[in-house]
Subunit: 409 residues, 2 copies
C-alpha cells in the first residue's frame, strides 16, 4: 500500500523510518524504480537503522551518524537499542542547488510521566543538531524528516530548532490538510492503543518535516498534509504513524554580501533563549548521568557480592577438605549450582558495568560539549568579539603569549 | 615530561592520542592553563577515546564521531574495542580564520602479514574522510593530526588523502628535522620491541599531521620535526610513538571567483586514481564482509549445537523419569554442569551473533556508500554534467517525470 501510494503521488523526495527489513526496502526499490530511480538504505545496529530515502534526483553522497546513546540492550521489549538509531544524510542536486536531506528516528517515549529515556533522547537531539549544523554549511537547502518522538514544545525539539534555525513545516505552511493540530500519532489509527496515548486522548504530533534555506536560497512551505488513519477503501492505515507530505517552494537569489561573517547574526533574545534551552538540556543530561552512575554502582556492588559469595563457597568447601579430611559436608549439587550462579552474576554485572561506563562517557561527553557551547553563547551575549585580539595565525617560536585564563573553562 | 615539553614549546595547537585516563588530562590541563587556556577531552567507549586537544585559541565548538567498527570486544588483549576509537573535531578561530582541527586514532595493526583488522581500518579511514569532508566545507583551514596506524602508501591513507585533498606535512615541509623517513614508531624507542616492527627494522611512519587550505586561505608547511627516541637528559622517551611538530604558515587572500561551483575541479587522472582506490577499498570491505558472515555463521551453528545438546540432555534426563520411574541414571552433578555449559554456550553465541550482525551492517553500509561514491565519480569521469537536466526544484503534482533508470544503482 505504501509502495502504491508513493508510486502514485510521485514526491520528489521520500523519507522512510522503521523499514526494519532490507527485503521491504528492496521491494520498494523495485516498485519505485520508475518514479524514484535513486535510493539509499542506511544500515546500522542489529536490526538496521530502518532509515531509507527515495529520490527523483540523483543522490551524490550519503553519510550516517549513529547516536552514542540509544536505550539499553536488556530492555529487549522496547527494542530501541537493537534498532541502532541514527541520522542518515543524503546530498542531492535539485536543479543546480545542493540539498542536504536528513532522515532520522529518535528513541521512543514509552511513558511521559516516568520517561527513563529522556536523557538519551536529549543527547540524541543534541547530536542531531550538531550533525546537521556541521554537515550543512555548504548546503543551499536543508530538509529534515523523521520521527523525533518528541512533542513540539519538548526540550529536544527546542534544542534542535533553535540551534539549527530549522523551521517546522506544520507551523510555516500556507495551507494545511490533515489531522487536527497536525497530529501524527492518532487515536483513530487501528495500530495505536489508546493507553499508549494517555493523557493525550486525541493524539500527539511527534513526526516532523523541518527545513531551512541559506544565504543563496529562500524556502517556503506552500502546502502540508497528513494521512488520516485508515486508507480510503481499505480497512488498515498505511502505518502506525500518519505520513506527512510537504510541498516546498525554493527561490534562489544572488546572496547579498555573504562576506566572511560565518557566525549567524542571531538576535540577543534568541541567544538568551538558546542559553536557557541549553541549561535545561544540561540539567536533564546531569540527571541521566546520576542515574547511570547509580546503575553502574549497583552493578559493581552486585559483582563484588557475587565474587564474595564465590570466595565464601570455596572457603567452606576447602576448609573441611583440609581440616576434617575426606568427608565433604557441602552437597556437591548445591556447590556446583552456587558456583554457576556466582559466575553468571559476575559475567552479567561485568557486561552491565561496561555498558554503563560507555553510557556515562557518552553523557559526560555531551555535557562537556554543551558546557562549551553555553560558554561560547554567553561570550557572544556579553558582546565580546568572537575574534580573539591576541591570536596569531602561525607559531612564533619565541613570541611570549600573555597568560589568558578563561573563566568559562 | 610531556607537560613540561608542551609548556616550554608553546605550540598553538596540541593534539594528543591515547590519554586514557581523565586524571592525566586534568593534570595536563592544570599544567598548561597558562600556555594553553582552551582544551577539550573527547569521551567515548569504555576507556574513553583517549583524544585531547589543547589550544592557545578559543575552541568554539566540538563534535565527536565514533567509528562504526573498531575491533572485537573479546580480543581484550588488543584492547582497541574498549578504547572506543573516534575522530574529534574542534572549531577554532585563528586570527579571524575558521580552523577545523581533527584529532583521531585508528585501530592498530598487530600483524602486517595477517591483518585481521584491515577491513575495520579501511572502514574507519572511509568514515574519517566522510566526516572531514562533510564537516569542513565552511572551514578556511583544515588540520588533521593523529595516529592513523597506516603506512603512507596503505589503502586507508590513500583513500583519506585523495578524497579530502589533505596534504601530508612530512611530504610538503620545506625543512625537516627528525627521524629518518619521518618515522614515528622507531626501533630506538625503549617502549618498542623489535619484533613488533618486523619486517621494518628501523621503524615505520604511521602518525601524521595533514592539512589543507581553502579558496580563501593558502597553507604551507615551513618546518617539521619529530622527537628522536629518548629525551635528552632522561632515560625514557616521551611515548612509544615519536611526537610530530609542524610549523604551518597561513596566507589569506580574496577568493578568485568562488561562485556556485562547489564540486572540486579534480583533474581526470586524479579522478581515475580515486576510482581505483575506491575499488580497492570495496574489495577489502567485501573480504571483511565474508569473514564476518563466516564468523556469524559459526556463532549461529555453535548456538544451535548448544541448544541441541540441552534438548538431548533434557530428553535423556526425562526419559527414565517417565519410563523407568524414580531411579535416575543421569548423575545429578553432570546434569547440572552440562546444563550450565549449554546455557553458557547459548548466551555467548547469542552475544557474538548480535555483535557480528552489527559488524555486518556496518561493513555493508560502508560498502553501499562506497558504491554510490564510485558511481558518482564514474559519472563525473564520463564527462556528464553533475547537474541533472531534468530535475525540478519543487514538486509538480501533475507533471509527469521521464522514467530515468540509473545503471549505476
Amino acid at each position: 500500500m505504501i509502495g502504491e501510494m508513493l508510486c502514485k503521488e510521485q514526491h520528489d523526495i521520500v523519507l522512510l523510518q522503521e523499514v526494519w527489513s532490507e527485503k521491504d526496502f528492496l521491494y520498494l526499490k523495485t516498485k519505485l524504480t520508475c518514479t524514484h530511480p535513486h535510493s539509499h538504505y542506511f544500515k546500522s545496529g542489529v536490526l538496521g537503522s530502518g532509515l531509507a530515502i527515495f529520490s527523483k534526483h540523483r543522490i551524490h553522497d550519503t553519510f550516517l551518524y549513529r547516536y552514542s546513546l540509544n536505550g539499553y540492550p536488556y530492555m529487549a521489549h522496547h527494542g530501541d537499542w537493537f534498532g541502532g538509531k541514527a541520522v542518515g544524510m543524503a546530498i542531492l542536486n535539485l536543479a543546480g542547488l545542493t540539498a542536504n536531506v536528513y532522515v532520522t528516528h529518535l528513541h521512543a517515549e514509552y511513558s511521559r510521566e516516568k520517561d527513563s529515556y529522556l536523557s538519551h533522547r536529549v543527547v540524541q537531539a543534541w547530536e542531531l543538531q550538531q550533525f546537521i549544523r556541521h554537515t550543512s554549511t555548504a548546503a543551499d537547502v536543508v530538509i529534515v524528516g523523521g520521527d523525533l518522538n518528541m512533542h513540539p514544545q519538548d526540550l529536544g525539539c527546542r534544542l534542535l530548532m533553535s540551534y539549527t534555525g530549522l523551521r517546522d513545516s506544520y507551523v510555516e505552511t500556507a495551507k494545511f490538510d490533515g489531522c487536527e493540530n497536525g497530529m501524527t500519532l492518532i487515536a483513530d489509527n487501528l495500530f495505536i492503543s489508546k493507553n499508549d496515548l494517555f493523557p493525550f486522548e486525541k493524539g500527539i504530533r511527534i513526526d516532523y518535516i523541518l527545513f531551512k534555506g541559506s544565504s543563496k536560497t529562500d524556502i517556503y512551505c506552500d502546502f502540508m498534509s497528513t494521512t488520516k488513519g485508515s486508507v480510503p477503501g481499505h480497512a488498515l492505515p498505511y502505518s502506525d504513524h500518519e505520513a506527512l507530505t510537504a510541498e516546498l517552494r525554493l527561490e534562489s537569489h544572488i546572496p547579498a554580501q555573504t562576506g566572511s561573517d560565518k557566525t549567524q547574526d542571531t538576535p540577543t533574545e534568541k541567544l538568551a533563549e538558546l542559553v536557557d534551552t541549553l541549561t535545561e538540556a544540561r540539567t536533564e543530561v546531569k540527571v541521566g548521568l546520576h542515574c547511570a552512575e547509580r546503575m553502574r554502582y549497583t552493578a559493581a556492588r552486585t559483582g563484588v557480592m557475587g565474587l564474595a559469595l564465590l570466595f565464601l563457597e570455596l572457603a567452606i568447601a576447602a576448609v573441611p577438605c583440609f581440616a576434617l579430611g575426606a568427608e565433604q559436608p557441602f552437597p556437591r549439587i548445591s556447590f556446583y549450582l552456587l558456583a554457576a550462579l556466582c559466575f553468571a552474576i559476575l559475567l552479567t554485572t561485568f557486561l552491565l558495568y561496561l555498558f554503563y561506563t560507555m553510557e556515562l562517557k557518552s553523557l559526560q561527553g555531551a555535557e562537556d560539549q554543551m558546557r562549551l557551547a553555553a560558554g561560547s553563547l554567553q561570550e557572544k551575549l556579553r558582546g565580546f568579539s568572537v575574534t580573539q585580539p591576541h591570536s596569531v595565525p602561525q607559531r612564533s617560536p619565541d613570541g611570549e603569549q600573555p597568560c589568558a585564563l578563561d573563566p568559562e573553562e
